[in-house]
């Protein structure tokens, strides 16, 4: 409840009505004010209990060596030092960034290709667009389980048998230390690309058709048309969405946890799975909290940075 400012506002800045007796208006105003705060109470209580108290608690724990029954011991920045010097955390950071960048860019490129292919008014295209959107609506855990089966690593596994028809050798996919991370990235692209397709399709409808026509008259190639007409029209709507997606990928957990759980041999360990196993399986809550705080700070800085850049661009 205290998420609201402690000093209750005493008057409304602007009452919508004029020409009424001041006393009545005052009464109305204070009633309205009460209503305002009443409407905010549910959000404030839930936010306090399930967002802000955990946040503060997490920050506090990150400075303590947490020991059940023995009492917590203040250790200053020790937990942060152990996160930043832990080689497995640093490896996880690398995997997280590689995975995030690959998934975000891959989903952009594939989404763009899908949009170009499926742009149009025909009903058949509409049905196809609706169908290929399924991976986006399906829960990530379900997507992960589907792909675990598709990736079955024997030569007669579903995906491997398709590769076999094409004359490609059976792959280990999630079981190989070299292929596991890329296999996860493919799943991310598969479930993210149709989402981008929809954004890009909306952008494509905004492109002035007469530009295509004049480009056609001028004998521009398809590539030139894409490069000089289509892309510039799409850029503004895409940049922010993509940056936010990349930032969000820093905390991707479900797909990695379902697909590999961080294995084999830690080759797909990302920040979140490392944090999870430290905090929940090894009960090293202090260090895990420090890792969470670092993730929060990075996320906050990147998000605020993106928004500011976006605003400055929009203002220009």
């Amino acid at each position: 409840m205290t998420t609201a400012p402690t000093k209750p506002a005493r008057s409304l800045t602007r009452a919508p009505d004029t020409g009424q007796a001041p006393a009545r208006r005052k009464l109305r105003n204070s009633k309205q004010l009460l209503a305002i705060w009443l409407f905010l109470v549910p959000a404030a209580v839930l936010g306090l209990y399930f967002k802000f108290i955990p946040m503060v608690e997490g920050i506090r724990l990150s400075f303590f060596k947490v020991q059940p029954f023995l009492g917590d011991v203040f250790v200053g920045l020790d937990n942060y030092v152990s996160v930043l010097t832990d080689s497995r955390f640093m490896e996880a950071l690398g995997h997280t960034v590689v995975l995030g960048v690959t998934q975000t860019l891959g989903a952009l490129v594939v989404g763009f290709a899908l949009a170009l292919l499926l742009e149009g008014q025909a009903r058949s295209l509409w049905i196809l667009r609706t169908t290929i959107f399924l991976p986006v609506v399906t829960a990530l855990a379900v997507v992960g389980e589907i792909w675990r089966i598709l990736y079955f690593p024997t030569a007669d596994g579903p995906l491997n048998s398709i590769l076999g028809w094409l004359g490609l050798g059976p792959m280990q996919f999630l079981n190989g230390t070299d292929t596991a991370l890329w296999s996860i990235a493919v799943v991310g692209i598969w479930s993210g690309a149709p989402y981008n397709m929809v954004i890009i399709l909306a952008g494509l409808t905004g492109v002035d058709r007469s530009l295509y026509e004049s480009a056609g008259v001028d004998g521009a190639s398809i590539w030139q048309r894409l490069r000089y007409i289509t892309l510039p029209a799409l850029r503004p709507s895409l940049v922010i969405v993509l940056t936010l997606a990349a930032i969000r990928s820093l905390r991707s957990f479900t797909e990695v946890y379902v697909l590999t759980g961080g294995g084999p041999a830690g080759s797909t360990e990302v920040w979140m799975t490392r944090m999870y196993s430290l905090g929940f399986q090894r009960n090293d809550i202090g260090v895990a909290s420090a890792a969470a705080v670092l993730l929060l700070v990075v996320t906050l800085l990147l998000t605020v940075g993106t928004q500011l850049l976006g605003k400055r661009k929009a203002a220009r």
């Binding site: 549910p42 997490g58 509409w126 855990a141 379900v142 389980e145 589907i146 089966i149 579903p158 929940f280």
Partner: protein
């Protein structure tokens, strides 16, 4: 129907200019090598994005002892997978999921509508701070605050009760979602103030104002926060995982990892579970598809 994804009104005024200029790549509507190529690519795309789902359905009703047995058409129809999944508690998990999704979504939408009403239709001191705090909640998803959240769920501060093992441990935390509050208040801001003033002169109170005047005008936004909220709740993984006391509290999505370990019947059991976990999202998507597309294209970000 087509306007759900691309709006015809944005088309060039003269169709006689040739459909060749209707698309960025200039697909020709006439039968030719161009058209054949496009159809082939469409088939390929369909295979990549849709066939895995066909395989799930087929595998769920098929006898299979290993993932290598899965094919696009069931070789022998059987309900054995569902029987085995039932023994593993499939319907209990599904019930957990449905209760969590229903309750969570209802709570989330109510909270969002209330908060959005006071943030968008009123001006008050401290509004900027409240907005900032709402923004901050968006930076605090379950992943980031998972560890302290699990402690809080086990022992609510001040109240001293434990929510763990109850559906409330998932329903209450998903009730606050900044994204939904923002979508709603952006939409409410667009409603002209005259409507409200007129009603106020008639002596309409705040609750009636919200429910009989403002909300009916917000149907499109309700659709958007409805489908995005459903997907957000249905997609929860870490939260039900840390909120559970034992596996019987799991929601279906989390419980898939339990079904996965069935070694006696095979992967069909998992696929039966995956199918049940897909059906509700599929139905919601088909009914609210328009809202979904609207939400995405209006610059809404996922999550």
């Amino acid at each position: 129907m087509t306007q759900t994804i691309s709006r015809p009104k944005a088309r060039a005024a003269k169709p006689s200019a040739g459909a060749r200029f209707d698309t960025a790549l200039g697909w020709s509507p006439r039968l030719g090598p161009n058209m054949v190529l496009r159809i082939l690519l469409c088939v390929l795309v369909f295979c990549i994005f849709a066939l895995p789902f066909v395989a799930i359905i087929s595998g769920a009703f098929d006898r299979n002892s290993s993932p290598t047995d899965i094919s696009l058409l069931p070789k022998s129809f059987t309900l054995r997978n569902f029987e085995a999944a039932t023994q593993q508690g499939l319907w209990g998990y599904l019930l957990n999921s449905l209760v969590v999704a229903g309750g969570g979504l209802l709570l989330q939408m109510t909270v969002s509508v209330f908060a959005a009403y006071s943030l968008s239709r009123k001006k008050f001191r401290g509004q900027a701070l409240v907005l900032l705090l709402v923004l901050l909640t968006m930076m605090l998803p379950e992943e980031i605050i998972g560890i302290p959240l699990s402690l809080v769920l086990g022992d609510l501060p001040l109240l001293g009760i434990s929510l763990r093992g109850s559906v409330l441990a998932v329903i209450l935390p998903v009730g606050i979602w900044g994204f939904s509050i923002f979508i709603m208040s952006e939409f409410m801001k667009e409603i002209p103030g005259e409507i409200e003033e007129a009603a106020r002169l008639d002596g309409v109170g705040e609750f009636r104002m919200l429910f009989t005047i403002i909300l009916p005008l917000c149907k499109p936004a309700l659709g958007v926060i409805g489908i995005f909220g459903f997907m957000m709740v249905w997609d929860q993984y870490l939260l039900p995982l840390i909120a559970a006391n034992d596996p019987s509290n799991y929601t279906l999505t989390v419980a898939l990892s339990v079904l996965r370990n069935d070694t006696t019947v095979g992967p069909g059991v998992l696929l039966a579970g995956a199918l049940m976990a897909m059906i509700p999202s599929l139905l919601v998507y088909l009914f609210l598809q328009r809202s979904m597309i609207r939400g995405i294209t209006s610059g809404a970000t996922k999550g």
